[in-house]
């Protein structure tokens, strides 16, 4: 029973890595879409954690899956909204670089 | 809706008469030419076949050097058009406006290089979409400074025709916004239809 794919630690470490990568992207990316991608990575990290914990430690194995489903739905909704905002921003500023829209003048 | 040939001839005669200080000689007798030259007006619309005998004004076909009346009604069976108008280069816009009001469509614009007379002739052909009338408007410009105003604002279709004429003859249409080489190569600085053009 010690197959590699049945070790919870691997999944959890991987999830932590995804979180780290997502955080790094969120800090370092200078375009809104780049930040959006990094955000998706963080979502993925959460999903993976949910799934791993659900598989190995949860009494009811459907809970985690349902949560991940919800996360996916939220991610899709978030992307739709975020992209429409980005496009609106692009129309106004002709740029989606986060540093170039620091002013909030009406 | 379309004016008759005579009305048109009248309008163009007035235009030709209004021409002030003509550079070349032919405008000497502006109004006279109309009635006589328009003699055989009858049967102008029917016969289109070549060869039908008509005594129509052979004077128009005479050597271009001879003074000819500025407005002539000619036999279409011989010429292929009905009204031959000669105006000054500054009057082509006014002539085009008359044609426009009369409902003519722009057929083509072209040039003829009369190198012997040291002149260039710009010929505007007009066709009528509803009436069987064809109109030819001519203007002569000196060969050294071939310039005349564009009729772009009257007939937008003149855009390409004027560019083409500029390509081939080097005639400048003042006011035309885009007189760059059109059919010729982009870097062409020659005008192949000039009679003194040697390739």
């Amino acid at each position: 029973m010690n197959h590699l794919h049945q070790q919870p630690a691997i999944y959890l470490v991987l999830a932590a890595f995804l979180l780290g990568a997502g955080l790094y992207g969120l800090i370092r990316r200078r375009t809104l879409i780049g930040m959006l991608i990094a955000g998706e990575l963080i979502f993925s990290a959460a999903s993976l954690n949910f799934m791993a914990v659900n598989r190995f430690f949860a009494p009811d194995p459907t809970v985690g899956q349902i949560f991940v489903l919800f996360i996916m739905g939220l991610a899709a909704a978030e992307v739709a909204i975020a992209l429409s905002i980005i496009i609106a921003v692009y129309r106004n500023y002709r740029s989606i670089h986060s540093t170039e829209m620091s002013e909030l003048k009406g | 809706m379309s004016p008759t040939l005579e009305q048109l001839a009248e309008q163009y005669t007035q235009l030709a008469a209004a021409r002030v200080a003509p550079a070349p000689a032919p405008a000497g007798a502006p109004v006279a030419g109309l009635a006589e030259a328009g003699g055989p007006v009858a049967g102008r619309a029917e016969a289109g076949r070549p060869g039908s005998p008509t005594p129509a004004a052979p004077a128009t076909a005479a050597a271009p050097a001879a003074p000819k009346p500025p407005v002539q009604i000619v036999d279409p069976a011989l010429k292929g058009y009905h009204l031959d108008v000669t105006v000054g280069p500054e009057q082509v816009v006014a002539a085009a406006e008359i044609a426009d009001r009369a409902g003519f469509g722009l057929d083509t614009i072209t040039g003829v290089d009369w190198i012997a007379q040291n002149e260039m002739e710009v010929v505007y052909d007009y066709f009528h979409p509803t009436g069987p009338v064809r109109l030819v408007v001519r203007a002569r410009v000196p060969r050294a400074t071939p310039e005349l105003p564009t009729i772009l604002q009257v007939f937008p279709g003149a855009n390409w025709h004027e560019r083409e004429t500029h390509d081939f003859f080097g005639i400048k249409f003042t006011g035309h916004p885009n007189l760059k080489p059109f059919l010729l190569p982009e870097d062409a600085d020659f005008h192949p239809l000039r009679k003194d053009y040697k390739p």
Binding site: - | G51, A61, A62, D107, T110, Q153, P156, G157, N159, L193
Partner: protein, 379 residues
């Protein structure tokens, strides 16, 4: 409809921030039949400005006309619009005959009409197939070419050429139409009538085709007039302008035919005009075959043909519209100046104004409905 000056300025029409890009359509592009280049300023798929750039196959036929005798120049004209060579030679021949006052025998005129109309049908068939090709339907062109082949065979038997005919001569024809040709033409007319019905069933009534063409690329009569667009374009705008009736030539006054017009002025109208024209051409051919008299096929022509000084115009209704030849002579055996006014040139010149604000596929459908032949534009 007066085009303002900024139509022709270099800057695209839109103000404010640039969201446009330039699409260089052609000179080699599947929808540009030949080497036509259209510089398009696009906003997404919307065309802000489409400027045709022409001249890639310019051959200066007009200069050639000044340098060779009229009889030698005649074959040149069949290379201008290679799809309706008969009409083009007809115009040159007609202009010379008009200027030199050459009498043409009646039989020759009838055969000219028959061959011209056959040529018109074959030209329209190529257009029909090519338009459908533009619209993404590949099959019709092969059907059209199948039928066109019959016309080409007929004309080949008559004058030896399949595409760039030089069948007309000053004062008549190159040779007489034999019975095989006349019978073959009769058979072709009978063959073609059900085929036209099939074209209608297969293509014209197709809902996708109708949606692609209806209300697309309106070219109203006024725009046609100002740009000098003729032929099916102006007839598709509801104006019954046909040189065969407006400036009658040959024996067309003796023949009965309708000028098909459609007032909608859209691409579908132009399409339907051409489809109806094929039908009318068949009708004309039938009548001409019935009326054709016996007699000589060429009149008396001087051996050295010299035109009297002066200018002469001769216009014919070519497949694409009004083709005008203006011959200026100074009394020699070559023309002093030949002006060839080609229909496609004027028909394309309105493209810039007409395509404004259209989306790319529609603009290409409209371009197809203009029936362009690029050598006809460039000459």
């Amino acid at each position: 409809m007066i085009a303002s000056k900024d139509n022709f300025s270099a800057a695209p029409a839109s103000q404010g921030p640039q969201e446009t890009f330039t699409l260089n359509l052609g000179p080699q592009h599947p929808a540009a039949h030949g080497v036509l280049r259209v510089l398009m300023t696009m906003d997404g798929e919307w065309i802000q400005r489409a400027e045709p750039v022409i001249g890639y196959i310019h051959r200066m036929h007009e200069k050639m006309g000044e340098n060779r005798t009229l009889a030698k120049f005649l074959p040149n004209t069949s290379r201008i619009d290679y799809l309706s060579a008969m009409h083009y030679t007809h115009a040159v021949v007609g202009a010379v005959e008009r200027a030199a006052k050459i009498e043409v025998p009646l039989r020759a005129e009838y055969i000219r009409v028959i061959t011209s109309e056959l040529n018109r049908i074959s030209s329209h068939m190529v257009w029909w197939g090519a338009l459908l090709l533009d619209l993404g339907g590949f099959t019709p062109i092969l059907y059209a070419f199948d039928d066109r082949e019959k016309i080409l065979d007929l004309l080949e038997g008559l004058c030896g050429a399949r595409l760039t005919y030089c069948y007309y001569r000053f004062g008549g024809l190159y040779n007489d139409a034999d019975d095989a040709f006349l019978k073959g033409t009769r058979d072709f007319v009978q063959h073609m009538k059900p085929r036209l019905q099939m074209y209608r069933d297969l293509v014209t009534d197709n809902i996708i085709l109708r949606k692609r063409l209806t209300d697309i690329g309106p070219i109203p009569a006024e725009m046609c007039r100002r740009y000098g667009a003729t032929g099916p374009v102006i007839r598709g705008a509801g104006v019954a302008y046909d040189v065969r009736r407006a400036e009658p030539y040959s024996v067309y006054p003796k023949l009965d035919f309708k000028i098909p017009t459609y007032p909608e002025a859209d691409s579908m109208a132009r399409y339907l005009v051409r489809m109806d024209e094929m039908e009318q051409s068949l009708y004309i051919i039938e009548q001409a075959l019935d009326q054709i008299p016996a007699g000589p096929f060429i009149g008396k022509v001087p051996r050295v043909l010299k035109l009297p000084p002066g200018d002469t115009c001769y216009a014919v209704e070519a497949a694409r519209g009004r083709f005008l030849v203006r011959l200026v002579s100074d009394g020699k055996d070559t023309a002093y100046r030949v002006k060839l006014r080609t229909p496609s040139f004027s028909n394309l010149s309105l493209y810039e104004e007409a395509s404004k604000g259209m989306i790319l596929p529609d603009a290409l459908a409209m371009m197809g409905s203009l029936d362009l032949v690029i050598p006809d534009i460039d000459r």
